[in-house]
Amino acid sequence: MRCNLRLFRLGFFCALFLALLGTTAGADGSVTLFVDVKPGLALQVQDSLTFPEAGPGQGVEADLDVTVWSNVGWRLLVSARAVQFDDQPVDLEGQLEVRSASGYWRFLDQVEREILTEQPPTTGDGVTVAVPFRFTPGYGDAPGRYAIQVEFTVVSEI
């Protein structure tokens, strides 16, 4: 009886070992590894952008670099959030515009404007795009330095 129990235990562990071997390795010793890759996005934006000096009615342009990494299709949007002058919120009479991929200048306010659409997944280096902005001061804008906060949004395609 004791011998049978030992044989049973031995057989059980042999069977377990063979079963584990069978599930983790093929006959040639190869192992199949499974991994699920999730859709991911990363965005890097230049710290700031300073336009050349400009007088009222005189449009000035400057580009801002944006880098996107993505393993899915994506779009890039931008909006203007707030304007400050001497650390106080103000309304600008001048116009801030952004140029979309289609080549048109579009007025920029709190409504998001599409800069790039239907972009394919990127490589590991990401995709850097220079987004052109244009500002045309108005006569109602007092001389001085204004800070306009813009916000970029990256969203995946569905």
């Binding site: 965005l43 300073t50 009222p56 906060q149 949004t153």
Partner: protein, 234 residues
């Protein structure tokens, strides 16, 4: 009187701050048979060796006829989203190269389908940036119901419009068979609608190597879910 030639320097930034460099994954979550209490885990990773202050906020999204996402951030959308998804916190810090998981909880599943956005924003950034995480949630009883609503031939270009009459998003796919004027088959081409939200339609374009006289669309029901439209000939 203001001087006409006044110098106006403009800066697109609040001074002396940093910008984003955070990887967020997944950015698209598709969950069926959602129940209250279910959890969705997002992963945020700092990439550039700087400590980051990030904020989380909610909104909804919709879709236009070209399939593009339309972000909705008004107060009503934010309130609706907050009724569906609970954020664990509104802001958090990421240490350099830190990876952190954020667990969202489904607060209520009192819907057929819901399309929620979670914004991950670099709070202290000068030129602000944010990533939109799309949550496509549907409950157990919800079904998609896609059909081909229109097909337009313009030379070698096809425009297909798919309509989803169901109460959750879905995808339709099928084969386009192209025929010449004699009725001979010129070729067969796979076409997919992309995701179509409920009660929305989406156009898909297909460039063919030939200029067919007529085409036939045959849906692939096994890929299209509830896509039950029979063969259509234009």
């Amino acid at each position: 009187m203001r001087r006409v030639l006044a110098i106006l320097a403009l800066c697109l930034a609040l001074p002396g701050l940093c910008q984003a460099g955070v990887l967020v994954s997944p950015v698209l979550v598709e969950a069926h048979a959602v129940e209250a209490g279910d959890e969705i885990v997002l992963s945020c990773t700092e990439l550039t060796g700087r400590e980051r202050l990030l904020t989380l906020s909610l909104g909804l999204f919709d879709q236009d006829a070209e399939g593009r996402v339309i972000l909705q951030e008004d107060e009503h959308a934010q309130a609706l989203a907050a009724d569906i998804v609970e954020l664990p916190f509104r802001e958090f810090r990421l240490l350099p190269h830190e990876n952190r998981e954020i667990t969202l909880r489904v607060r209520s599943a009192d819907f057929a389908s819901a399309y929620v956005v979670v914004y991950v924003r670099a709070a202290q950034a000068a030129v602000a940036s944010r990533l939109a995480v799309l949550l496509m949630l549907s409950t157990g009883a919800a079904k998609d119901d896609l059909s081909l609503a229109d097909l337009h031939i313009d030379g070698s270009s096809l425009a297909l419009t798919f309509h989803n009459r169901g109460d959750r998003h879905g995808t339709a796919s099928g084969m386009i068979s192209a025929y010449d004027s004699a009725g001979d088959l010129q070729g067969e081409f796979f076409v997919e609608s992309g995701r179509v939200l409920p009660n929305r339609q989406r156009r898909t374009y297909l460039a063919l190597p030939t200029q067919p006289h007529s085409v036939r669309f045959t849906p692939l029901e096994d890929l299209g879910g509830q896509f039950l439209v029979s063969d259509a000939l234009w």
